[in-house]
Symmetry: C2
Amino acid sequence: MGRTRFADMNCGIAQALEALGDWWTLLIVRDAFFGVRRFGDFEADLGIAKNVLANRLERLVDHAIFEKVDVGEAGPRFEYRLTAKGEALLPLLTALRDWSDEWVFGRGHEPVIVKDRRTRRRIPKLRVTDADGHPLTRRDLRSEPGPGASRETRERLAQRPR
Amino acid sequence: MGRTRFADMNCGIAQALEALGDWWTLLIVRDAFFGVRRFGDFEADLGIAKNVLANRLERLVDHAIFEKVDVGEAGPRFEYRLTAKGEALLPLLTALRDWSDEWVFGRGHEPVIVKDRRTRRRIPKLRVTDADGHPLTRRDLRSEPGPGASRETRERLAQRPR
DNA sequence: TTATTTGAGTTGCTTTATGCAACTAAATTT
DNA sequence: AAATTTAGTTGCATAAAGCAACTCAAATAA
């Protein structure tokens, strides 16, 4: 039967997890954001098994998050580079780090601080806000079916208009 | 040996994935944001196996993302409720949805649209910005060791000051 | 009062994933 | 020609996920 995949779920979160939810995948993407590009560098930095790394990189290329480039130097030499779709994961990685900086390590115990290269000031934490920039919580939100909603999505949202 | 765990990595992203990175976990949290609270409701909504659901709920309670409450109605009846730490995952879920709305479904094909309950206006997409609200990309950022940085983290950031 | 139903799991078995070590292959350097 | 480097593949052991059947406690129905 294999593991249940989320690819046919009519939900953005499920779709993102289908591409990114395997063990190791987001740490590989994190490394790419730090500038890692080569198979051997991912391997050394993460301590991941070669076969698992090869599988994850293949999947990331299939999902057009990475692009595999032959840099034809000497012997088999490739680079895995972030595409625009991959670079667009910056808010996701930031949300992960924000959350554990606050709730796992605690304020004042962050291992890494991310700053604006120009101004050298910390970047503010991501917040969900209304159109005027006022912070919102789960209870302030209302989910409605969008143009791509399936019948199931419509029914579910009708039942649970929260 | 068991699967490599990320708990001892000195990195916020790794810590978040340690708590949230198992298959199904973030879909369970998503359901909780939609108001699901009972074992049977998670099960029916997700189509997840009972034993896997029980394991994920236990882990989420261990990580203080859910709180297990005996609502003592009739027979064994419990609710799994989001804690403050769990509610703080809103930006993460939003980042996941934002990303696939744009890069998987495409604009105009979103299955679900999230609005401000009061104003009925869509909530803006999350963006990583500088202190003045100007959008930043990966290349505009610089990671520095924080107060909780280990020696390894310091060395790594010194080598790769990107 | 016994039988049935409901919610919330647990147990056992099968199939995938992951971890680990050894091996391959192409091009380069010694 | 032999050794090295990079990027894998293959084979085997263990852990995780899927599935069905079973448990257990309390309420409800017959």
